[in-house]
Symmetry: C2
Subunit: 458 residues, 2 copies
């Protein structure tokens, strides 16, 4: 494809995106299809000869788009709502064209330094001390695995050479994300060595039980090594008692990792800072600009006060990756599993500059305010009940009826294509979740979503 052909196709793609952003609401959030429907419409084999871009873009519009679940839709309220914001999309376009691999400083100084600078900016916004070093990986799940590996490196350095002892134990809440357990399985810690601590009425880890379990494990010859707190759990967005957990971690010399994948950006708001007290005492923190900071997937930030330990866990430098600058520069490949690294900081830099701190704060505050309003509206309807506190922008509620009726209500609402919401289980019962977080969502969208749920309930 010549540069001029690219220019023409590029304009066409930009036009499609601009129209998409203007009319996202015209799309059903969820496609009306069954597993295999798209695959059945695609050829069984790739073409022998190349095809014109025009035909490919046509198939994109006719076949792919109708099979998309529109995460960038203002009425996407499932899981955690995310945003491919316009400045973020522009950043991704340029990153794809440069196509750099920022594994080493030398292999792309811009990618390395812009990552360090933007993560310094975000660290300041979050009120974290300067000693926190940041690095971007693809997902929070990956970053939690990285943190568990770093924690092991500190607690059982001999495991690096000889493998784990099978005695290490990790502590997290029963409301923690599945990635904590998955990280422990992958790292060879073992699923049974993950202690799931019960939660209080507000779904926060019970610190008293944490201390007790650590003592029991120590008495039984186990080696407690890591505590994983959550600031914004997936089911209810509850925030564990970070200060207390930091105290316990310090008392027993355990690594404290905080999963703030969703909640982290809220720590930018001064009026919410108190909820995050203790975050600054963490050994590692994960927060996802690709969740609630308007940055396209994927961009998950790992902060650590112990970059030396993270590096000890992950650095392996073969001859072919040695450079003259190794002693003066940060080589980001030293801080993780993946050697290849996209220029993910570019989109984050675009987003942080385009919206500024004020812009980000304004949008977060709106989302939180609308969630509170929605919560009040639900509370006012006697057929429904609120199932958890609403510290941020996710409202958990249910019809005062059976699980089957709640499931059916959600399915019927989702089948309209107007909104998409998801569920969780609390105290063994199905609970509906409405998660606000897309940059295009308005107050009216949220109120109409509630109206739809109400009406569908009959």
């Amino acid at each position: 494809m010549t540069p001029e052909e690219f220019r023409k196709a590029g304009y066409e793609v930009v036009d499609w995106i601009a129209d998409y952003l203007a009319r996202t609401r015209d799309y059903p959030v969820l496609p009306d299809m069954s597993p295999g429907d798209l695959a059945a419409r695609l050829p069984q084999s790739a073409p022998e000869s190349g095809e014109p871009m025009e035909r490919i873009l046509d198939d994109y519009r006719k076949l792919v788009v109708p099979a998309v679940t529109h995460w960038n839709h203002p009425n996407f309220y499932a899981y955690f709502s995310v945003s491919g914001s316009p400045p973020g999309i522009l950043g991704e376009m340029l990153a794809a064209a440069l196509n750099v691999n920022g594994m080493l400083w030398k292999s792309c100084p811009a990618a390395t330094e812009l990552e360090q600078v933007t993560l310094g900016w975000l660290r300041q916004w979050m009120g974290l001390p300067e000693e926190f070093f940041g690095v971007i990986h693809d997902t929070a799940s990956a970053n939690t695995l990285h943190s568990i590996a770093a924690a092991r490196e500190l607690a059982e350095p001999e495991a690096h050479a000889t493998g784990g002892s099978g005695r290490l134990t990790l502590y997290t809440s029963e409301q923690a994300h599945s990635s904590v357990e998955k990280g422990a399985i992958v790292a060879g810690i073992g699923q049974k060595n993950v202690r799931k601590i019960p939660v209080d009425d507000a779904f926060r880890l019970r610190a008293d039980v944490l201390g007790k379990l650590i003592e029991e494990d120590l008495a039984a010859g186990k080696k407690p090594f890591c505590v994983v707190a959550t600031a914004g759990t997936t089911s209810t967005t509850s925030v564990d008692p970070l200060e207390e957990m930091a105290g316990i971690a310090a008392q027993y010399g355990l690594w404290l990792h905080v999963d703030a994948a969703y909640g982290g950006p809220v720590s930018i708001l001064p009026e919410f800072r108190r909820l995050f007290a203790g975050l600054e005492r963490a050994d590692s923190i994960v927060t996802n600009p690709h969740k609630w900071m308007f940055t396209p997937l994927d961009c998950s930030v790992l902060y650590t006060r112990r970059p030396d330990i993270l590096k000890r866990a992950f650095s392996l430098v073969p001859e072919y990756l040695k450079t003259a600058e190794d002693s003066q520069a940060v080589n980001l490949m030293d801080y993780g599993v993946s050697l290849g690294r996209r220029f993910r900081a570019l989109k984050l830099w675009f987003v942080m500059r385009y919206y500024g701190r004020e812009g980000v704060c304004r949008i977060l505050r709106q989302h939180i305010a609308w969630a509170q309003e929605l919560r009040a509206a639900i509370q006012a309807d006697p057929r429904f009940e609120i199932c958890a506190p609403t510290p941020f922008s996710v409202v958990c509620f249910r019809l005062q009826a059976s699980d089957a009726e709640n499931q059916s209500l959600m399915d019927r609402v989702n089948r309209t294509g107007k909104i998409f919401m998801s569920h969780t289980a609390l105290h063994g019962r199905i609970v509906l979740r409405l998660a606000i977080g897309n940059i295009g969502t308005t107050r009216e969208d949220v109120m109409e979503a509630w109206e739809l749920v109400r009406k569908t309930a009959g």
Copy 2:
């Protein structure tokens, strides 16, 4: 940013990319800068108020681009040369705008099904049997970690719950990529439990030593569980004896993982298929379309004949991720660490369709032919020596002089900004590598690169 503002900025970005693609050769491949130079030119803090896109794009051009190592430059010959091809860039643009998370079929049927379809196409191109299941992760390093974890799941299923025994041993060549060792460390297998097998004159793993070491380990009470072969090593692109290794793996019941991150695409060429004999017997294979198949970073494919085992190693489904389609559809989150998944298949689909099998084959054949020509030219110059066979498109050579003189030659060549090459070590000596693989590279580029090296050598 309104859709119309996006359209305007989008056109501007497309114009920049088109001009960049037209005039990449005008840029120095390597920037002339020292660590910290870019960071020093950027503000210490993010802006309070949002900034106009125009100013951000201006800073991108003035500050970021001059600090970029141009991996998309036709004269980038370091590490492995890659390509952000025009159709791949267009695919990334759309993926950023849709911003879907393909963790579940339901969370984006298009992302899930297009990934399965395109990986089926690629599997056919590579001549692999239908039973191979494919999934995309970010990097080969991550996919090798996934394969090691799957191998453990099969060999020591109890490790899933209780952690590793410390007895598992893994076998790979001393020329294998550092990610094999890193994967073993992260998974808790331990670095000392990675046996590095010596290589033959052509830098291929010695299968006779492999068999012997497995026997020794068994006799010593160890548990051999995994063999990692390489089809295209990083230093010299050597291909291990896959057929023999598959035989040994089968004999001892070990998982065979093949790192074909670089070499995999060459198996599409019928005349090279014999080099890959045995690949079809692997339990898992990693190959990177983002390396030598013109797809922008990141897109690394993991194939496995044992998706059941991979899933057993990685599947954890909390209530909030359960869907009605779980029994009928593939949920790609079940096959890896990361829950979040970008729509990476879109760019691969664009690339495979735009170039077709013939187009991909034609470009690969050119790169390989030019490398052979370059090799012959180097051989004809008595001051230089060839240091390894050249099965594909990477030529390893050195000045018949000291390591310091070779290092100095490389540094002087790279400082011209005209080309960028990197080095490795073979038999304890510094060796220069010239890796051909960018889609924009021409025969003339390669010959001029050699001319530059020759002249710089004096």
